[in-house]
Symmetry: none
Subunit: 467 residues, 2 copies
């Protein structure tokens, strides 16, 4: 006997796709001020939909940046937990537009996938959550758990004002745990639960070796070259094996344990196929590969430039050079201390006579892991197992979800990722797409999870809250 | 009593500046195909001017690249030598455009200097030669020496097709010596004759580490970063003291002799003031400084780039990175062998799994020295002494004049540099400028030199020709 809420959802699958089409048609690019109208249109659409679905007090809440959309249904009673259900309505820029096979803001079905900017990250997965919760209200007049929706508008710009929003609306957003519709599944071929993310932070630096660019003939041999100094500094960040060579960078970092390594060794993963898919040859074993991807920090130059970069040649000794660096962090690393360790390394390795300017570029996010016994995690695993027939494998993620760190710090609660996007869906790239099969899978899993949440009490979650 | 030719020139100093303004307004950047129209405009302007001044057969001569402009006046008689008077009408790119205080292709007077791209290198000095020679025809109806003008269009790209032009027009360009309006004076405070130049050559290379740029979270730790590989390769080119660390690079190079060092020690030069003028601190003595500048080879990165270089951050692992290198060479070094030594070094230092692509970009120029007793050199020294009142000091130059090597090889003749640019005029950099005082100085010295050339015969120059 099919669940009545699931029946309600599946009977209107076409309606869901139509609504998703309307939502992706709002070009809500948060990083580019030129899309301000698209951002506002997406918020209006969401507020109208939440209102119609029966949520209360659907509205914008902001703190100087792009507002979030919020709404709630708190009728399950005071003994029941409150879930903060998270998604984000902002999307990456569509550039390069000419690389899209169909217009980026027109939902287009092709080969079993729906294509549009934001369809996978995060409008499709977010709408799954919204519509499922609404379907409980429609089919049964109630939800088995109290719910506050928080649909952010700045995820693609590092959740810049999310901390301020949480501080300003601490009362309205109070909850026992976060259930996130964002944070993609690792793979399509293996049911997984992502239980940990790396943190991140970033910085830029510049070197200057002279007051101005100099002619390589008239000064060559007697003036320092900023590119040589930059190359030396960037090269000094790693040793010959590619390990980070920055003193203090790993201070406090939790090294992978034997148990971690055993866990990694048990995961079916084809390193050679992965390497081939991106045209590389890592030469790593599966556990070695996953350890480097999930349990080790990274320090990457994302950009480096200086001197003449146009067509042909220019015999110049560049006076300045620039680099952008970012890091992925593991549990125990503090973003600000990592930036300071890299800054200290650069200062120590910068020779006299070379001017060094360092600019931290963001606050950074700590690594995150949901507690292994968190009742919401267990409920989510149970829901997935019930709907796909296999107990999902716990996996980690090399990427970062700033939300996790922010809500743990400000609200003292944990986040469980329950997304029906998959990592291969080209989000942040042209031709972003979302598997059509994720709709039915997502409906079933979300219904199963919300039912299981009805069996949880606030007391069950209390031990995991750090007010 | 003032020389009538000099009087003629000085009476139309404003006309000279107006013509220079028109010439620099032609944006004749040879290295960038986007400036093709500016190149053609500069040629049209020069041909019209040469024609009007009374030179014969003013026209373009080319050999596949940017054509040169040529014209001649051969009325001095067969016993008189023929001088190949050289200049170049092409200029360096104006980048970075935003660093200019006035538009790069608008002649702008400021603080006793004229500013524009190419004003010092080489349009101003070239126009001094053209106008002085023309003034002889205007004031006296003849020149005391036979003259062929050769105004090149590819000096800033290593004179790529100049050899082919000389081969194709060997008869028309036959001469007894070259008198070059290019090759700047060392300093404004000391009359000098530049008697030797370093050679040069250039190359580009790229590294590729993956088929496409990768997300730093989803691939960080398991994919190579092209910028890290590039930094390592560029850093490997020099040792910790800045000496070139490329095996075979210095093969054949003539080391500085004790006599060279004694000569350098006798030159009045204030290293600290030079350092201060460009915002550096070389920490070198005068002979050590001049040895590195004139008698030692260099290897400089002129540009290096890869990854995201725009505003804000992008958490990307770049799949490719690029660098442009150029070298300055001393007597005994062969340009092609130097490029091959650097290429071999890069191949040897490039780790497995990193794709390396190397592109030599020009044939290169050997170092050059004019014979110490060359009659044209002595005449030029005499002309300078007569006009500035002091015997000029013979000095060398760290920069390169490809012409010297090419005409010695193909025409068997020597080159005397007689330029009224000065090395501190920011050629190849933003805000290139030229001292307004160089105009009157240059007119006087050119007139004095051409008069002295009237006392030379072909027989005087014959011993220096190597046909």
């Amino acid at each position: 006997m099919t669940d009545p809420v699931l029946s309600h959802l599946l009977s209107d699958r076409e309606g869901f796709v139509t609504r998703l089409r309307d939502l992706v048609a709002c070009p809500s690019v948060s990083t580019d001020p030129g899309y301000r109208d698209g951002m506002a249109a997406a918020r209006r659409w969401l507020i109208a939909r939440l209102d119609r679905l029966g949520f209360h007090d659907a509205r914008e809440i902001g703190a100087g940046g792009h507002p979030a959309v919020t709404a709630h249904w708190h009728g399950a009673g005071p003994a029941q937990p409150t879930l903060l259900v998270y998604g984000h309505y902002d999307v990456q820029p569509p550039d390069p537009a000419e690389a899209w096979a169909s217009p980026p803001f027109e939902l287009t079905a092709r080969n079993g996938r729906l294509h549009a900017r934001g369809v996978s990250d995060d409008k499709g997965p977010m709408l799954l959550a919204v519509e499922t919760l609404g379907a409980f209200l429609a089919a049964e007049g109630r939800l088995p758990v109290n719910v506050t929706l928080l649909l952010e508008g700045e995820e693609e710009m590092g959740s810049a004002s999310l901390p301020a929003i949480l501080r300003a609306h601490r009362g309205a957003l109070a909850a026992d745990a976060v259930l996130s519709a964002d944070g993609a599944r690792w793979r399509a071929d293996l049911p997984t639960m992502t239980v940990a993310t790396r943190g991140n932070t970033a910085m830029e630096f510049s070197v200057r070796t002279a007051a101005k660019d100099l002619h390589s003939g008239r000064y060559g041999g007697v003036a320092r070259n900023a590119l040589h100094e930059m190359a030396r500094l960037v090269a000094s960040l790693h040793d010959a094996e590619g390990n980070i060579a920055v003193a203090g960078f790993a201070d406090g970092a939790t090294p992978p344990s034997d148990a971690d390594r055993a866990m990694l060794g048990a995961i079916p993963f084809d390193v050679a196929a992965h390497d081939a898919s991106i045209g590389t040859s890592s030469g790593l074993s599966t556990p070695g590969f996953l350890e480097r991807l999930w349990l080790r920090p990274t320090l990457d130059a994302n950009g480096m430039w200086g001197g003449y970069t146009g067509a042909g040649g220019k015999t110049v000794i560049p006076a300045e050079a620039h680099a952008k660096l970012s890091m992925r962090l593991v549990p125990g690393q503090d973003p600000a201390r990592c930036v300071e360790a890299v800054a200290a390394h650069l200062r120590a390795h910068c020779p006299p006579g070379v001017e060094l300017a360092i600019r931290p570029t963001r606050d950074g996010t700590r690594a995150y892991a949901v507690p292994e016994a968190h009742p919401l995690l267990l409920a989510a695993e149970g829901a997935l197992e019930a709907t796909v027939g296999t107990k999902p494998l716990r996996v980690r993620m090399g990427a970062t979800l700033p939300l996790t760190d922010i809500v743990r710090g400000l609200l003292g609660i944990d986040t469980v990722m329950f997304s029906f996007a998959t990592a291969d869906e080209d989000f942040h790239a042209p031709n972003e797409n979302w598997r059509e099969s994720a709709i039915a899978e997502g409906f079933a899993a979300w219904v199963a999870l919300i039912r299981r949440c009805g069996a949880l009490t606030r007391a069950d979650l209390a031990p995991f809250r750090r007010a």
